[in-house]
Amino acid sequence: MLTFARASLAALLMVSVAGSSAFAADPAPLKIGMITTLSTAGGYLGEDMRDGFQLAIDEEHGKLGGVPVQVIVEDDGLKPANGKQIADKFLLQDKIQLFTGIIYSNVALAVVPSVVEAGAFYVSPNSGPSQLAGRGCNKNFFVVSWQNDTPHEATGQYAQYLGIKKMVVVAPNYTTGKDAIAGFKRTYHGQIAEEIYTALDQTDYSAELARIRAANADGIYYFLPGGLGINFLKQFTQAGLKKNMKVVLPEFSLENHVIGAVGNDAEELYGTAHWLEDLPYAANKKFVTDYRAKYHREPTPYASQGYDTAKLIASALRAVNGDISKADAFRAALRKADFKSTRGAFKFGPNQYPVQDWYSMKVVRDPKTKKLGIRGVGKIMRDTGDVYSGQCKLT
């Protein structure tokens, strides 16, 4: 009986092995696993990223770098445990070897280590946590957006450049918020009049606004992504504080959706970004035009990151002719970053995080349409990587 069981098990195994090799011979599309945040208040970030990514695939009529691809999208609901479950299903059940999509770093930190340990690739369109940038870097982990600290370093630099003497800084009381303020203070050397930490689910900021008024500063920086920042900015403006304070923001708090949601309160805001709608590069012009035409809404940094991520993957898929089982060749091709980024110059640092330029920007009213929009002002940092890359020993 036992031998029979063994024999049938062996037969089953052989059939399944034969089966899988038969599938490999098929010109089935290459599966890309996209774990992203589509529900909750942060859902529109994932939506923009996904749509930007899809735009690059549509350009090639269902292919990336000439290789047919199938993107399987799952919503993590902003919960690390969900993200991990989806990743396990993608790895074991769907046999996916190429991952992307995560917006929030808490989800990324739950997912990325198990994905890269399984030998699969993860190309990040948004989250760039410090834990995976220094000693924790991995040869199969690539970040197309930025290291999480850098947007805030750029903003600090700009506040410094604008000559603001005394700043109030505001962030939610959790790891990413504290990292943001640390990043800001790394490049801003004026006086910090008040450092305010808020709750992540806070809607009313009146108490903080009274503290800000009492601090008597001439500038404010806040890292309050998505809806938090919209709430804050509306209440800040109504409190009449904008008259005496320059508002200098990282790109998360100053993108087209935020401007759309706060209306006229967006006037006279300053900020920094790694990508701008009006950057004069051919790749960017094409992206902005096509994105508006297809989705009937204004592009955001998240959309451009999704698009750039797809373009990077396309360049590497072309180099290995779609065969990502040649992991070394695929990795080398990704590392080359041989694609035209919407943001201009792009290369990877030693930890496979970006080295890129950062732009300063301002919200201005278009003289013709009377609508508020973001305009680039200049470059605030050039060829900038991150402070953790020195600790990464990849080669």
């Binding site: 689910d201 809806g227 509306k234």
Partner: protein
């Protein structure tokens, strides 16, 4: 001193808005015994409808009325279709069903309006600030305080002085007796539910100009609302009023003063982040203290 006064006003304003939402929630619980998690969805609907009315050029007052009416109607439909089947059932069933309503409402709203937050400007007449002897205060927030207090007064008069209000009070404590006297309890329930929804809709519409009008905004405020009605005593309007103001004041004053008080005793970076953390739990400490002192809340339904 003026800063303290300003913070007290901030707390009152926050509390007044929590009360508008809490009133409906506590009525529905007190009279029908239903825990309605989807109450925040009605608040969200009020915000969205008034935001889109404003986008289409409606004056502010009309937009608020539209939001309130939409939430009220949605509440009545919700009662007739779903909640009605939950009376007398286990609280767990109610939580499950109304949680499903949250998911449906969130997805429904994102299908209709999209995931991107909607823009609402403060009406220009109220957009400025007023000087209140020593400090300046946003005019719109004064309007919110007034609106919240007016709603509380109106609700008090309605419950205490009208026939329908009397039935509602009676229904909260002596449900069977009221039914035996020939009052159509089912109809009374629908009216109460609609009224609660209407108040939540008003809160959503009034807060739309100072908040991000987006999917999921209902759940953010729902937790505070539950804390307010637990502190005040389930099922009691007076309790909801006191509870909401207490929660508003404790939350606001906590955020304003805990970090400041910690400054002299801790290093600045620790004081700031510890202060942020402590003020976030201040209302839960309040709730715990009240429950130890009065396990049924400050003014439980039916108490004298």
């Amino acid at each position: 001193m003026s800063l303290a006064l300003e913070q007290v006003l901030n707390g009152l304003q926050f509390g007044a808005m929590i009360f508008l939402i809490a009133a409906g929630l506590t009525l529905v619980f007190g009279i029908m015994g239903v825990i309605n998690l989807a109450h925040g969805s009605l608040y969200m609907l009020g915000a969205f409808v008034s935001a889109s009315a404003a986008v289409h050029g409606a004056p502010f007052a009309v937009a608020v009325l539209a939001g309130a009416a939409a939430a009220g109607l949605a509440g009545i439909v919700m009662e007739l279709v779903v909640i009605r089947r939950l009376y007398g059932r286990d609280h767990l069933d109610q939580v499950l069903a109304t949680f499903a309503l949250i998911l449906i409402a969130n997805d429904g709203v994102s299908v209709v309006w999209g995931k991107v937050p909607l823009p609402v400007d403060v009406p220009s007449a109220l957009a400025g600030t007023v000087s209140l002897g020593g400090f300046i205060y946003p005019a719109y927030r004064l309007v919110l305080i007034a609106a919240g207090l007016l709603a509380a007064l109106g609700l008090y008069l309605f419950i205490a002085r009208t026939r329908l209000g009397m039935l509602i009070r009676a229904g909260a404590t002596h449900r069977e007796t009221v039914a035996a006297l020939g009052v159509d309890i089912a109809q009374l329930n629908t009216v109460v539910f609609g009224l609660g929804a209407l108040l939540a809709g008003i809160a959503g519409a009034l807060l739309a100009p100072i908040l991000a009008v987006q999917v999921g905004m209902g759940e953010q405020i729902l937790i505070l609302t539950f804390v307010a009605i637990v502190v005040g005593g389930l099922g009691s309007i007076r309790g909801a009023f006191v509870g909401a103001l207490l929660v508003g004041l404790v939350d606001t004053l906590g955020r304003a003063y805990i970090p400041v008080l910690l400054k002299p005793v801790a290093r600045p970076e620790i004081a700031d982040s510890l202060g942020g953390g402590l003020s976030a739990v201040a209302i839960y400490v309040l709730m715990a203290v009240v429950l130890i002192w009065k396990p049924r809340g400050l003014f439980p339904a039916g108490s004298r």
